[in-house]
């Protein structure tokens, strides 16, 4: 945990804005809502890699599909089997 995290945690500031972290909300294993992403690295129906400001998120699964794709957020639907964080 870095100093930045400790400060924002103590001051109760929004971490996604100050640390540039991605917000990921999972609804069971059917749906993932991703906020604050930068770009898509890889996209097919078995794997979606999304780059954030600091790390990469890899979502593995089956029949993956992007819904509601906008500049700041996207919804991934399908059967999600794992979510991996990579530097």
């Amino acid at each position: 945990m870095g100093l930045g995290f400790k400060i924002t945690d103590k001051l109760e500031l929004p971490k996604d804005l100050l640390l540039g972290a991605m917000n990921i909300y999972l609804t069971g294993s059917y749906e993932a809502y991703i906020e604050n992403y930068k770009s898509i690295i890889e996209y097919n129906d078995k794997k979606i890699s999304v780059r954030g400001k600091k790390n990469i998120v890899i979502i593995n699964g089956k029949n993956l599909k992007i819904d509601n794709f906008t500049k700041t957020d996207m919804v991934i639907k399908g059967i999600i089997s794992e979510v991996i964080f990579d530097k």
Partner: protein, 390 residues
Amino acid sequence: MINKLIVWFYGYIHIEVSGCNISRFLNICSARGIEFYSVENMKDKAIIKMQARDFFALHDVVRKCRIKVKINKKTGFPFFVHKNRKRKMMFLGILTSFIMMFVLSLFVWQISVEGNYTYSDEEILDFLEENGVSHGIYKNNINGEELERAIRNEYFDITWVSVELTGTRLIIHIKENFNIENINDNKNDFKDILAKEDGIIDSIVTRSGTPMVKAGDLVKAGDVLIKGNYDIVDDSGTVIDTKDVVADGTIYELVVYEYYDKISIGYKNKKYLDEDTSYKFVIFDKMIDIDFFGNKNNTSDYVYNVKQLKLTDNFYLPVYMYTCTEKEYEIYDDEYDKSECISILNENFNYFLENLDEKSIQIIENNVKIENTDGYFVAKGDIVVLKEVD
């Protein structure tokens, strides 16, 4: 639901993107603020659902990423209009129906009265009609305050009126005063308590006034039972003064009623043969014409049902649906058996007792007997009841 409707209204397209740089294409689009409703990947191509007006902004991106784009499907309102652009009458029809709905919503098509007990709906509707408020009136011509004042002035025991106009419906909310009669009674100058019927006094308790009768006395209708004054006497028993009061007391009187009822054993009965229902729609008319459904048959019962059509709870239309059920019957001679006769006579007798007086009465003696004479069942006899004089 609303979101889907908005998407449909602006129109959307399904495009097929093929090439090796699909993820780059997606990144550039998101950077340029082009939104996609959904992206579906199928091996080397992607099916993208997007807003139709964003399609022309893709031109640059497509060239940059060296991919191929093909429109698969166009859906939504702009495409619907374009497809049907030659069907002018259809659009005219849609427009006319909207105009008609708007025009109809400017008038009142249903008036209802709520909270009335002593005044019937018809009475108040008639009064409203006299004041120029009837079905089909232009909504802006209704002056709520004036109408409320008119109703209050006409009916003195209506204490509160509120006129509510919702949709094409005019609702008159009314509150009535129930105690007004009692107040008037107390103000009455009449001070004596009089006997209303012939009978024998069973008991008398005087609260104010002078009792003129005692228990066991025979009285006739109109006799004074309690006089509305009392004498002030001095020690020697001489009357010095007479003071008027409102007579008050509880008096029970024994009254004898004669009862006679007769029914014939033979009677005409109806046998229904078949039913026929006919419907009719009437626009801008609220009166039922009896000859409405053509010739009337003398040996038929007719049941009329009128229903006003409405779009929503408060949007009534000036369209009335009349349903007429014709039940044809045949008259034949029938006879009551003994138990039927007795039950009818008993029913009539109970009805008679119920309507004898508003207040509860006590039956002391019941000598009514049922006899069978010459094809008739007769119930006759005397009933002695104990009732309160008021």
